[in-house]
Amino acid sequence: MPEQPYTADEMMTIAAARMVRNGATLFVGIGLPSAAANLARLTHAPDTVLIYESGTIGTKPNVLPLSIGDGELAETADAVVAVPEMFAYWLQGGRIDLGFLGAAQIDRFANINTTVIGDYHKPSTRLPGAGGAPEIAASCKEVLITLRQNRRAFVEKLDFVTSAGHLDGGDARAKLRLPGKGPVAVITDLGIMTPDPVTKELTLTSVHPGITAEAVTVATGWALKMAPALETTAPPTQRELSVLRDLQARTAKAHAGQA
C-alpha cells in the first residue's frame, strides 16, 4: 500500500503517542500532549490511564478537550476529584508514571519556559505561566515534552525556567531531590531528542522521514548533539493516521458553534 501523505504536525503527534507504554498512568497537558496521549489510548495503549489537572482520572474523551476541564473529561472519567487533591494525593503522591508537557521554549537540558520572554518585570511577551507544569516535571516518574521545533522555541538560554528539565545537567535533579527522572524525550515536528545518559544534554536520536539532521540543527538555537547512529522515525501507519484524523475531525465538529 502506498504511503499516505501526512503533515509534520501529524508525524509529531504520532511519534509522541508511540512513546506511551500501555497501562501507564499519564498526567496530560492540554494541546499537543493531549492529542498524543489520546491517540495512544485509541491505538496501541488502550489501558492507559489519562489524568488531567482539572481532577479527572481515567478519562476517555471521545473528542479532544479545548480546555483542561471540559465536560467531556468529567463525564467519561473513572473518578473526578478536587484540584487540591489532584495535586497533593495523585501527582505529589508519586503515583504518575508519565507527565506529558508542551512548552513555549526549551533549552539543551529540556528545561521549560512558559512564563515570559524578556525581563520578568518588563517582558516583551507575557506567556500564560506555570500551570501544573513545575510539579508535573518534578514528580512524575518520567516526562515527555512535545512542541514544534524552531529557533524561537529551542533557545541557548531561557529567559525564565518555569519547570525543571535536567537543570544544568548531570545529576543536578538528584542533588535537588526532585522525585522523578525528568524528561526522557522531546518530540518535535522534525525529530526526537533524548537526554544523554550522563550529561543529560538533549541528543538528536531520530529524524522524521524527509527531514535532515541539518534541518534540525538549523531549527535549534544551540549546537545540537547528534547520536552516532541517527535513526529515521517510522512514518505514520495508515491506522495511526486515520485514528488521529478521525479524532481531530470529531473534535473540530464538536467545538464549532455560534458565539
Binding site: S54, G71, V81, R126, A130, T162, P179, A256, G257, A259
Partner: protein
C-alpha cells in the same frame, strides 16, 4: 448564613474597593455573571485571585478593576493569550498590574491552607523553577523529621470568594458536581462567599451517578443568587456546554484596546444584568449575521 438575594445586591454589599476577591471555577462553572456585575458596579483596586485567570479576568483587568493578580496560569484555554492581561503586564494599560505568581500545585495548596485555617500551606513544589526568585511569598522550610526542603506559601484568605454552582435549595445549601476545582476551598477560605446558581430547588438531590457531587451547607455561604446561564461562556455540567466559539471570538474582541472598550461598554456597562448582557451580545449576531 446564606441569604437568597439578587446578584446586584450581593455584589453591592459584599465586594468593596480594595478587597481581595477570588472568582473560582476550573474551566467549569466560572462565575461570569458575578464578574460582570463587579465591572458594572465599578469596583477598583481589587486584588484578584484565581488559579486560571481566563476571559472573565481579562474583562475585569481591562475594565480597570484590578491592581494585583494572584494566579498560576493566565491564558485563553485552547486559544492563546489573554490580550488585556498581557497589555496590563507588558504596557501598564489601563493600569500597572502587580503579579503574585505561582504554579497550580502551590495555589491549590494555599487555598486548602486558607480553608483549613492554617497560616501556610506545605508542598513539594517549585523545585528547580525560577518562580521563587521572583516571588517572596514562596519560601522553603525543612522537614523536622527528614530534613527535606519543602515549599511553604501563605494561605489564601480572600475577603470575598465567588463561585457558580448547579443548584441551591431554599435554605441556601449548594450542590455542584463535575470538575469542582478549588470551589469548596475558596468558599471556606473566604471571609464572605457569594454563590450564583443555575436553579433554586425545594430538595437538594444529586442526580444519579454524577461525577464528584459536592454539597456546601448554607451556613458557610453569605449570599446565594440565582443567575440562569451565569457561567456562560464556560459551562455548567448537566445544563449547558462550553461556548467554545465565544472563547475564540474573545481573542478578536480583546486584541485591541478600542474593540475591548467598545464591547465592555456596550454589553456589560450599559446592560442592567446578565440576562440583558446575553440579549445584547445575541443582538450583535442578528445585526451582522455574516460575522457571527
Amino acid at each position: 448564613m446564606a441569604v437568597i438575594v439578587e446578584l446586584k445586591q450581593a455584589i453591592r454589599e459584599f465586594v468593596r474597593d480594595g478587597d481581595i476577591v477570588a472568582l473560582e471555577g476550573f474551566t467549569h462553572l466560572i462565575p461570569f455573571a458575578a464578574g460582570h456585575e463587579i465591572i458594572r458596579q465599578g469596583r477598583r483596586d481589587l486584588t484578584l485571585v484565581r488559579m486560571t485567570p481566563d476571559v472573565i479576568y481579562d474583562q475585569l483587568i481591562g475594565a480597570g478593576c484590578a491592581r494585583k493578580l494572584i494566579f498560576s496560569w493566565g491564558g485563553n484555554p485552547g486559544i492563546g493569550s489573554l490580550h488585556r492581561l498581557r497589555d496590563a503586564v507588558e504596557k501598564d494599560w489601563p493600569a500597572p498590574l502587580i503579579l503574585d505568581e505561582h504554579a497550580h500545585a502551590g495555589m491549590a495548596t494555599a487555598y486548602a491552607a486558607g480553608a483549613s485555617g492554617l497560616p501556610f500551606g506545605l508542598l513539594r513544589g517549585y523545585l528547580g523553577s525560577d518562580l521563587p526568585k521572583y516571588n517572596a511569598n514562596i519560601k522553603f522550610i525543612d522537614c523536622p523529621f527528614t530534613g527535606e526542603r519543602l515549599a511553604a506559601l501563605p494561605a489564601i484568605r480572600p475577603d470575598v470568594g465567588v463561585i457558580h454552582a448547579q443548584k441551591a435549595d431554599r435554605k441556601g445549601n449548594v450542590l455542584l458536581w463535575g470538575v469542582t476545582g478549588v470551589q469548596k476551598e475558596v468558599v471556606l477560605a473566604s471571609k464572605r462567599a457569594i454563590v450564583t446558581v443555575e436553579e433554586i430547588v425545594d430538595t437538594l438531590e444529586a442526580p444519579a451517578n454524577v461525577p464528584n457531587p459536592v454539597v456546601l451547607p448554607h451556613w458557610v455561604i453569605g449570599a446565594v443568587c440565582q443567575v440562569k446561564g451565569g457561567a456562560f461562556p464556560s459551562y455548567a455540567l448537566g445544563y449547558y456546554a462550553r461556548n467554545n466559539a465565544f472563547y475564540k471570538k474573545w481573542d478578536g474582541i480583546a486584541r485591541e484596546r478600542e474593540t475591548f472598550t467598545a464591547w465592555i461598554d456596550r454589553h456589560v456597562r450599559a446592560t442592567k444584568d446578565f440576562a440583558e448582557f446575553r440579549r445584547s451580545i445575541e443582538s450583535v449576531g442578528k445585526e451582522a449575521p455574516k460575522h457571527a
